[in-house]
């Protein structure tokens, strides 16, 4: 009987790096659903043969391996997790609300990450000003969407919260590095409130990567991108 139990046990592995906000999404989703898994940390400057075997096309983290089945791309993985483990659903049932959640998750990746990560963090001077202006536009849309709601998913954390969740921790770090305030309490009160809710939510608050390490890493990334040579 014990042998039967073992052969029916789920084998779930998550390939991540210590800092990747994309991989963090998977950690949150699995933990929110109470699913146990093993973590494999990758050094993205020295990718393991196994990662390259599992994700030959993009060669990136996160990768989810569930009983030998490999899934890549964080938003694809999130939908897989939601369809496989049905407790604490990340997406609503209604097709229009579902489409809305997917829209905001995509908006986060296509727009917000580009304007803030690409435009503000990694640039300076006029380019940074343009990035800042673009991010203000993007954050304005998020502010309108979150207004009146605790989470983008409503009363509970949903797909869009998980996709946008990096804002709740990484943004403070970016703001510190560049010396600019993006989610200003006065300009974006609802978004600032969401940041607080999300960053302190159970599960979420226990899984943030080390803040000091992130500051060092992203400061170095900014230096490298600005072509200032070896960071101090």
């Amino acid at each position: 009987m014990d042998e039967m139990k073992y052969s029916m046990a789920e084998e779930i592995k998550v390939f991540r790096s210590w800092s990747s906000p994309f991989a963090l999404r998977i950690i949150w989703a699995l933990k929110l659903k109470g699913v146990e898994f093993d973590t494999i940390y990758e050094d993205l400057t020295n990718k393991s043969p196994l990662l390259l075997q599992y994700n030959p096309i993009h060669k990136k983290v996160p990768v989810l391996v569930h009983n030998g089945k490999v899934i890549c791309e964080s938003l694809v993985i999130l939908e897989y997790i939601d369809e496989t483990w049905k407790q604490n659903p990340l997406l609503p049932e209604d097709p229009h609300q579902k489409a809305n959640a997917r829209f905001w998750a995509k908006f986060g990746d296509d727009k917000v990450m580009q304007s803030i990560g690409g435009g503000v963090l990694l640039k300076e001077g006029k380019e940074q000003e343009e990035g800042f202006a673009a991010s203000m536009e993007d954050l304005k849309y998020l502010e309108e969407e979150i207004r009146g709601k605790k989470f983008f998913g409503g009363e509970t954390i949903g797909l869009a919260d998980i996709a946008l969740g990096w804002l709740a921790h990484y943004l403070d770090i970016f703001e510190e590095i560049v010396g600019l305030k993006l989610i200003d309490q006065e300009k974006f009160p609802s978004l600032a409130a969401w940041k607080q809710e999300f960053t302190n939510a159970p599960i979420i608050r226990e899984n943030w990567p080390d803040r000091d390490k992130l500051v060092t890493k992203f400061a170095a990334m900014r230096e490298a991108n600005l072509g200032k040579g070896t960071p101090k």
């Binding site: 993985i77 939908e79 496989t84 097709p95 229009h96 579902k98 997917r102 829209f103 995509k106």
Partner: protein, 220 residues
């Protein structure tokens, strides 16, 4: 379903718009097609897609859905009793989503660079484009469609781009069929289906459109 009001805000040459037309055709959904002037965006488009101000937008009983692949999934979920686009198994669904995402990340971006860039940048885009198509050929394997025996989500995501291949080839001065005969064979097979042939535009007309765009952007 008889009382459904479905409108598609679109631009005739857009491969993203064609995805939605194909999805609606596969499900046999009657809808009103509304051609948009993107140089002079109408009030309805701005109201229905205030964030991106882009097409396609599906308006279903007054409520908008934006972003082509999100619209296609929405169509699949609402009109679920006919021609499912995604398999029922979560892992198979994940594979379909992965490859549709791949089409978005690679085919559109490289294709765009082929008609917008010149010299080395264009050559790099051509190579990236062909490499991506070859990966898609590998995924297709021996199946008639990416969806298996019937057209599915990845087919809907990909096949509209075929209408832009003639423009890419003519502007980029290369033959896609010479490099990826299997993929071209697949596209031609799809076109034999009435839902596909009536949803896709004439490649020659698309080429004229791209020539017009190049002139407008000052690319010679």
């Amino acid at each position: 379903m008889a009382s459904d009001q479905v409108t598609l805000l679109d631009l005739w040459a857009s491969p993203f718009g064609m995805r939605v037309r194909l999805a609606l055709a596969e499900k046999g959904v009657k809808y009103e097609y509304s051609e948009q002037d993107l140089m002079n965006k109408g009030a309805l488009l701005l109201q229905m897609n205030p964030v991106h101000k882009k097409i396609p937008v599906l308006v279903h009983n007054g409520k908008p859905v934006c972003e082509s692949l999100i619209i296609v999934q929405y169509i699949d979920e609402v009109w679920k009793d006919k021609a499912p686009f995604l398999p029922s198994d979560p892992y198979q669904r994940a594979q379909s989503r992965f490859w549709a995402d791949f089409v978005d990340k690679k085919i559109y971006d490289f294709g765009r660079k082929i008609w917008m860039e010149k010299g080395e940048d264009q050559e790099a885009a051509k190579k990236g484009f062909i490499d991506s198509l070859k990966l898609l050929e590998g995924e297709l394997g021996d199946k008639p469609y990416f969806g298996g025996e019937t057209i599915g989500y990845v087919d809907i995501a990909l096949v509209p781009f075929y209408t832009w291949f003639y423009a890419y080839e003519t502007i980029g001065n290369f033959s896609i069929e010479a490099e990826c005969p299997k993929l071209i064979g697949y596209c031609k097979r799809c076109l034999k289906k009435e839902t596909v042939s009536k949803s896709l535009e004439d490649p020659k007309k698309v080429y004229d459109f791209v020539v017009m765009l190049r002139k407008k952007y000052g690319i010679e």
